[in-house]
């Protein structure tokens, strides 16, 4: 029984929040399909089936009401976000597995919506990445190849032949391998095939700006993530431009823009205080750059997010805002 106000309907409810984020992903999805072929769409479908299936299964085990909990679209959003992270040519069963791990392990094992300390999509992604590292290199070599794959493969009926000829290194891979082979940054970037990364960045950015305008995400986390990537990159570039990729390269490639807007802003696993969100975002950006520049993985975004997820309780405890009427801390 509700005895206290307010007696006004909220501006939006959880399902609307989740759907709005899915809607904001559309421009990026379209550009991804144009650049990397229809594979992305199949990954989206498999991931969503996995995510929703696992969520429903565990809710059933927990004796919860299926319709209201599945109807909040949070599992669907997890599936969509994960599908956009996975390589377009990943075998169907791996996408299904990643999707189900994301909601089962990443969310429901912790008690469901709002209780998970880690970003569920990143949990699914990292589990597959660590278990099946070779799979995550299955990116099409170029746009032409991307559309050439037989449809049977997507439906799990065909094999992927001539993998070496068809899959190519992502720009981040190329950069890491090139630098390790003592090439300079300039030489590596010269070798990269025509690069439409900026188009994708613009598409994600459009969705992000729309979300921000509608008050669905706040500026702090995305801006802090971008700053966290760009600042160390700028400094390193100034120190040694041959051995460190430029800030622009880091911002445009890999998961930077997409992650800053859609992954790091996952409210459940992010910091909840205004100042904390700046620290959280900057930490993700910084760690991403560190892993890319010195680590063994080409893109460190997922690890950076999960590591900062772990730090959230500490960050929140130390960034409690000053309340009205409280003495300013000297």
């Amino acid at each position: 029984m509700r005895i206290a106000g307010p007696w006004i309907r909220p501006r939006r409810r959880v399902p609307q929040v989740m759907l709005a984020v899915i809607l904001a992903l559309l421009p990026g999805v379209l550009v991804s399909v144009a650049l990397q072929g229809p594979g992305i769409l199949f990954q989206l479908v498999y991931c969503c089936i996995g995510a929703l299936g696992a969520e429903a299964g565990i809710l059933r085990l927990r004796g919860r009401d299926l319709s209201s909990q599945l109807g909040d679209y949070s599992a669907l959003l997890t599936g969509v976000l994960l599908g956009l992270c996975l390589p377009p040519w990943l075998p169907w069963w791996q996408a299904l597995l990643a999707g189900s791990l994301a909601t089962a392990v990443g969310k429901q094992l912790f008690g469901g919506l709002g209780q998970n300390p880690f970003n569920p999509a990143m949990v699914g992604y990292v589990m597959v990445l660590v278990s099946l590292p070779a799979s995550l290199a299955l990116w099409p070599a170029d746009t032409t190849t991307a559309w050439n794959l037989p449809w049977a493969y997507w439906l799990g009926l065909g094999e992927l032949h001539e993998v070496d000829a068809w899959t190519g290194a992502t720009p981040l891979d190329a950069m890491r391998n090139g630098l390790r082979a003592q090439l300079t940054v300039t030489e590596v970037t010269a070798d990269l095939s025509t690069d439409f990364a900026w188009l994708l960045a613009v598409a994600w950015g459009l969705g992000g700006v729309w979300l921000w305008r509608r008050g669905l995400i706040q500026w702090r986390i995305p801006i802090a993530v971008l700053a966290g990537v760009a600042l160390p990159a700028l400094i390193a570039q100034a120190v040694d431009a041959d051995r460190f990729a430029s800030a622009g390269f880091h911002l445009l490639h890999g998961a930077t823009i997409f992650g800053a807007i859609f992954i790091a802003t996952d409210p459940v696993s992010a910091s909840t205080t205004p100042r904390g969100r700046l620290i959280y975002g900057f930490g993700i950006g910084l760690l991403t750059w560190v892993i890319r520049s010195f680590g063994d993985y080409p893109d460190g975004f997922a690890f950076a997010v999960m590591l900062l997820n772990m730090l959230v309780p500490v960050i929140d405890a130390h960034t409690v805002p000053r309340v009205y009427g409280q003495e300013h801390r000297s």
Binding site: M1, R2, I3, A4, G5, P6, W7, I8, R9, P10, R11, R12, R13, V14, Q16, V17, S68, D72, S74, G112, L113, G114, Q115, G215, Q218, P267, V268, A270, T272, T273, P274, R277, D316, V320, P321, R322, V323, Y324, G325, Q326, E327
Partner: protein, 545 residues
């Protein structure tokens, strides 16, 4: 006219919903046959009735005296007979004694009910003004019902009171009673403000009105021009909820924050609602106590929403009837006192209007509706953005829900003003304010329990001390006695010639021998009982330490 130079934190834009009431002039609500005038319509202890059933009273007569300095007097709202003192359910499960007045429909007012009428604030002593405000039973009419004289008296103790703010920032959706005051009683508001200045010794008076309320701004501005009082200024403040909250409005006007556990007085400020100023003017210049107030009757279920001048004690059923009844038959419509943000549920239509009753909001469940089931918190942080107190509402909620009240207290739950901004933006529709009230109540209970425990501990320590002292005294007496006996025996042994002492010694020896014999002769059960009793005694004296 000025614009506010500062701003408060957080807050949110709400749709006005003040489409009603202000179009029509405020009329007097019909005088009902019966008035239930509550004895407790203010912060502080209830008033004490000073009339007998059967007694005839006129409007303005004192019917209940202030019981303490923190209590407030109650007056007859119309002429008629006192019939009984009955209990009535008010808001939030409070049951309050009311004086049942059967009106004679003559509505005769007592002339100069409070004594002589005054005309010149500057020629009247501050204490006289404050006493009159107290005698008139005036409380804050914005809803908090804090005794106005008490506010001014506290100011007299602190000669630093220099700035009075009249609050006309009516930020709650649906409520427009202050707006009606500003449109129709602007001159009285200014006059009341001058009386408040004279009572407090303050040198400045600001009247704050939200900038979307152009009609009220114009009305007050014209009255202000006519008064030509340089001490008074009109300040426009942004229309943003909860602008009308005392602490928020102070921040908007001055840029200062009232200390966490302090009062506006600490900043040399006092705030009064605009309608309170009107009541002050009536008390001083017309010698009329507070017996009516403007009430907004509104909501989608009300056929003709409007503002009424209502006699205190009028049951809300009368107001609903006067406003054309309900738009569609509903056996149990949702009745709220207050606005759509902070309104509280009323138990039934018998609730009488009291001094703090600013708005009756009636809506079908579809319009003013409790949330269905709330979902889990997704920590979106929207509540953090809108909290005017700069709190972390979601963390307070997590702690309250987990019964970690001390953790919530550490995050300054006490700074929460229960404005509901967090709850209205919550996409999970969690009744956050309800959780905070629950946590606050639990914390208050815990504080009471702690005090009780400390008290009991002190009592126990005192008792322990006393027992020890008594034990020590008994022990000392026993030893003195033993020493005396020993002395006696020794002297007896040393002086056999002394017949008396010899006799005494002999008698003592005989007595001892007899005692020993008796002890041996006792049955074993009695011996055991004696032994048990002895052990019990030892045990008791042992636990005293």
């Amino acid at each position: 006219m000025l614009n506010a130079q500062h701003d408060f934190r957080g807050g949110l834009a709400l749709a006005g919903n003040k489409l009603y009431g202000e179009q029509a002039a405020t009329c007097a609500a019909p005088l009902p046959r019966h008035l239930w005038i509550p004895l407790h319509q203010h912060q502080g202890p209830p008033a004490v009735p000073c009339v007998q059933p059967g007694q005839h009273v006129l409007r303005g007569d004192l019917i209940a005296k202030a019981s303490t300095s923190a209590s407030v007097a109650v007056h007859a709202s119309s002429s008629g007979w006192v019939r009984a003192i009955e209990s009535r359910d008010l808001d939030q499960g409070r049951s309050v004694d009311c004086i049942l007045l059967e009106t004679d429909q003559q509505d005769q007012a007592r002339d100069e009910a409070l004594g002589p009428c005054y005309t010149d604030p500057d020629a009247t002593a501050a204490e006289t003004i404050i006493e009159r405000i107290a005698a008139a039973g005036i409380v804050g009419l914005g809803g908090a019902s804090f005794p106005s004289a008490t506010k001014l008296r506290a100011g007299v103790d602190r000669p630093t009171l220099e700035h009075i703010i009249l609050n006309g920032a009516e930020c709650e959706p649906y409520i427009s009673c202050d707006g009606a005051s500003m449109l129709e009683d602007a001159a009285a508001i200014i006059r009341g403000g001058q009386w408040l200045l004279a009572a407090s010794g303050a040198q400045r008076l600001s009247i704050a009105i939200e900038d979307h309320h152009q009609a009220a701004i114009d009305s007050v501005n014209q009255a202000l021009k006519r008064s030509a009082d340089a001490r008074i200024q009109l300040v426009q403040v942004p229309s943003r909820y909860p602008q009308g909250g005392e602490r928020q409005l102070i921040q908007s006007l001055t840029g200062l924050e009232v200390p966490l556990d302090g009062l506006p007085l600490d900043l040399g400020l006092a705030m009064f609602n605009v309608a309170t100023a009107v009541a002050v003017k009536q008390a001083l210049e017309e010698s009329q106590p507070l017996t009516e107030r403007i009430v907004t009757v509104t909501g989608t279920a009300i056929a003709q929403p409007r503002n009424w001048r209502v006699r205190l004690g009028t049951p809300i059923s009368e107001l609903i009837a006067a406003s054309g009844g309900l738009t569609h038959p509903d056996p149990a419509p949702r009745l709220l006192m207050g606005g759509a943000m902070m309104g509280v549920v009323l138990p039934d239509k018998d609730v009488p209007v009291s001094k703090g009753f600013n708005c009756l909001l009636v809506g079908p469940p579809s319009d003013i509706q409790p949330a269905a089931a709330s979902r889990a918190c997704i920590r979106c942080g929207d509540c953090v953005e809108v909290c005017p107190a700069g709190l972390l509402p979601q963390q307070l909620y997590w702690h309250s829900q987990a019964r970690e009240f001390q953790a919530a207290a550490k995050l300054h739950l006490d700074a929460c003003i229960e404005c509901g901004a967090c709850a209205v933006v919550c996409p999970s529709e969690i009744p956050l304010v309800q959780y905070y009230r629950y946590a606050k109540a639990e914390l208050a209970n815990a504080a009471v329990e702690r005090r009780k425990a400390e008290h009991a501990k002190a009592r126990y320590a005192a008792r322990e001390k006393r027992l020890q002292r008594e034990h020590a005294e008994r022990e000392a007496a026993r030893q003195r006695k033993q020493a005396a006996l020993l002395q006696a025996e020794q002297t007896a042994a040393a002086k056999p010639a002394d017949a008396t002492s010899a006799a005494v010694a002999a008698a003592l020896a005989k007595a001892r021998a007899q005692q020993a014999k008796a002890k041996q002769a006792l049955p074993p059960a009695v011996k055991a009982a004696q032994e048990r009793a002895r052990r019990q005694r030892e045990h008791n004296s042992g636990s005293d330490n």
